[in-house]
Symmetry: C2
Subunit: 197 residues, 2 copies
């Protein structure tokens, strides 16, 4: 007990998702996750406060990546540049090696209404933090809120495309495409459906 | 018991908010709400499933107003016209006579993290339903999602201004102003902060 275990966090995360998908999230215990990973239960609790944190523990890091990126762009950057930089930065959490995990995580969350709510709330918090960070950069409201919502929509859409088994593109490419499409769509909001641009 | 009570629902709603603000939401029971209103506990449960529904029971009506308005605009309407019609329609739930209730409701929700989460989730659901309704009208994505987010932002901002004690304007005016400001802000998203338009 208490000894160092190589890759314990990753092993626990993988075992947790296997069990969540096999038995359901509600029916899986921390002890079972540790057992599947070949680790002690106490090791589980050194890495995660509870089984829910296996799914949402990465969110703080994601928020940090977003905020640091928006803070780090030069003063001359436009609100959309800042949002694009944030989307680029989160690519660090969505590399090819994370795709299987993120896809399984999505399947688990989709199947449980409490987890879906938790995911929505985390995204709302992330959007609010982005808007705050843009305001601190001097972007006035409602442009700050609007840019943050565009970033949030681009993130959600890129995430959905990225975890699609048929997808071959990497996350930053998808996020840029989605943001560009949203930007283009702003010009169509006062056009009747079916009207040529 | 079981007899008709004039304005029972309104009386229960007002009593509930008084008690939530006096004693805290968590510490207030349905029996106490009924007692304050001079009604039987069974009358409370004929009108509300639980005390939380006093705060969120109006939400289904709000969703219905939004959806019906978006569905009802002519085919030639732009996505923003449809969203503006939805904001106009919800004015029926935000008349001068509801302002005290809505303001107290906001104070109760602001003071309780579970209720704040519930409010965020309700708003996310409303935004999703608006986007779906726009898609059914033939608005393509991501314009449908974007228009719904603009409507949602305009609604939140107008709501915040409307319940401000200093406010003299009515809800539809505020909502229109907010939507127009958001529309204008879309043109500033690729301008550096401080740049003249």
């Amino acid at each position: 007990m208490g000894r160092w275990e190589p890759n314990a966090r990753e092993r626990l995360g993988r075992s947790a998702l296997e069990l969540f998908l096999e038995r359901g999230y509600e029916s899986t215990t921390a002890a079972e996750i540790a057992e599947r990973a070949g680790l002690a239960k106490s090791t589980f609790f050194r890495h995660f406060a509870d089984k829910r944190e296996v799914l949402f523990g990465g969110q703080d890091r994601l928020n940090r990546l977003f905020i640091d990126a928006v803070t780090g762009v030069p003063d001359s950057a436009t609100p959309l540049d800042a949002v694009a930089a944030a989307l680029d930065a989160v690519a660090a959490a969505f590399g090819p090696e994370q795709r299987a995990f993120v896809r399984q995580r999505h399947a688990v969350i989709s199947g449980n209404s409490d987890l879906r709510e938790r995911e929505l709330l985390k995204l709302a918090a992330l959007t609010a933090v982005m808007a705050d960070t843009l305001r601190e950069r001097g972007v006035p409201d409602p442009a700050a809120s609007l840019a943050a919502e565009l970033g949030s929509l681009a993130f959600r859409n890129a995430h959905a495309r990225w975890i699609d088994p048929a997808n071959q593109q990497d996350f930053p490419d998808l996020a840029r495409q989605e943001l560009n499409e949203l930007k283009a769509a702003t010009a169509t909001l006062d056009q009747a459906p079916g009207t040529a641009r």
